[in-house]
Symmetry: C2
Subunit: 339 residues, 2 copies
Amino acid sequence: MTGPRRARRATVHDVAAAAGVSRGTVNRVLNGGYVSADARTAIEAAIAKVGYVPNRAASMLARQRSQAVGFLALEPHSLLLEDPNIGAIMLGANSALSLADHQMVSLVIDSDRDMQRVGRYLSGGFVDGAIIVSARSHDPIIRLIGEIGLPTTFVGHPPDLARDMPYVGIDNIGSAREITRRLMQTGRTRIGMIAAALDRDSGADRLTGFKEALGDRFDPGLVADVPLYDYTYGVKGMRALLDREPAVDGVFAASDAVAAGALEALREAGRRVPEDVGVVGFDDSSWALRTQPPLSTVHQPAREVGRHAAELVLRQIAGTEPVELSVVLDSPVVWRHSA
Amino acid sequence: MTGPRRARRATVHDVAAAAGVSRGTVNRVLNGGYVSADARTAIEAAIAKVGYVPNRAASMLARQRSQAVGFLALEPHSLLLEDPNIGAIMLGANSALSLADHQMVSLVIDSDRDMQRVGRYLSGGFVDGAIIVSARSHDPIIRLIGEIGLPTTFVGHPPDLARDMPYVGIDNIGSAREITRRLMQTGRTRIGMIAAALDRDSGADRLTGFKEALGDRFDPGLVADVPLYDYTYGVKGMRALLDREPAVDGVFAASDAVAAGALEALREAGRRVPEDVGVVGFDDSSWALRTQPPLSTVHQPAREVGRHAAELVLRQIAGTEPVELSVVLDSPVVWRHSA
DNA sequence: TTGTATGCGTTATCAC
DNA sequence: GTGATAACGCATACAA
């Protein structure tokens, strides 16, 4: 005897019956339309009385849209929810979607099985569009998005396979170049880099910018590369650098988390920052103000990135105006005390 | 001329036509059932040919379920995605749901508007159940959950209004008591606490455990309380404590993030840890191993918490066996070098 | 084993 | 302004 777990829910039909009108009229007070004051009050009373709650599955089926947008962060799971940047992007996207009365749903991908299931979810009509962060060229999701033609915006450089899809991001190369130059201007002569996530465009671009700034003075022996934008890897990367070149007096870390780790490694090695070694980071995340000394870094307007991504998706969903293919936001250097 | 934005998608009907069978048969190969080998191959070919992708809205409507479970973290947004614990709980919940072929969708609540919309989302049938983290008694979501009778599991003590709902958590009081005792055993005589988030059960319980351990020796003047489990508040709380009682020689911080902040404040005040002051935290999150020295803390099995929460929800959805009302997991003290 | 008919709850398009 | 009615695409019970 399992029995019904929940009572049957009231439908528009029930409301119409209780109010003594037709379903059409009920729908009009629900979704706006011409309706007499009398009918309206009667219906509103009926709604309260029968405890009507709209069934969005039915609405979704009839209207062919869900008023929801998916948010996917394709980060290794260890980082997924610890990266302050992703959080800020999510919040920015959410508030823009919220304004347009769309529900943001974020989906985590932590296994192949997840990948498959999320694919079905996206193509099943649960969302009208998607925002995808940190995709790499080989991520299978990209092909899928193309196949089902889901309105999508990428955050960060679009992977090769999706060059024609809208994206929003910053100029990683230019900003990396600029902050490296600023570091050079402090008179450092042996400047190294802790490069991270070279399999992502952001990681590769930051290294490119670093090389460009150094030009002839670039020394491949002075770059340590680590797989992730992560504190622990920052520690390791800095140790490696010190090991290879004890005379290093400047370091560009690929992210603030990495820079924070580098600071720790420098402290354990007895180097003073910024006196002995100047350190700069990237992102201007919450790490930057928590280190001692606070980090000179590149400000990434993460919230704005999220907001623009959401707007690009919404505009594609509306399908009215042509969508510009990309938005590149300013990412200025902010100079503090670590260099 | 807006024009159709996307071509009409193939339906079961189209597949049936292409394969020369009925829709019923197509459905049987899709959802399992008796189908002849001939029919099956024909249908599979047809599916590929017409590019059929199931419309889950229709399926949802017909079956009255979505195979999705909502995940809500009711944290202040600044913390939402930076708290390593929440990330671990999400991952744990996701993997359990994934095994049961359910899609976890996480919803952020960052405004009243969000609250309303998420309420409609949950009650609209987009999810079959929900996992709710860090709810407080007055959170409107709780009443809503009760009203719509959505299978739900709370993570952390259930708020008063939901005493009858399943939850999973740890014994915050007991663990706080235990780690405080350990700290006392190191011979400290002036032990303070940086209490945080006293409006949440976890925060209040940790303070209670602290008081219990100290007994007669408890001195209200030695507790600084801050609103959030946050690094920056840890710095502030520790400064306040030092200010009030310079002789403080032991500190229980309500979380590892807070403890990390406390360490920073102690460093700037010239106190050595653990020589001058012993510090312990709570959570055993990634912070614990990143501080110098690494934190003695309480291990919170966040991933397991998420897993159990998911299982409790799934069991309610299945509705077969009676659901035990709560799961309390072990949270042992792990002793490192900060005290 | 396969085909058919009906229902799921809402929206939209008509006449009235 | 309002009331019927036909989609929307899938699942399922029943007939064949």
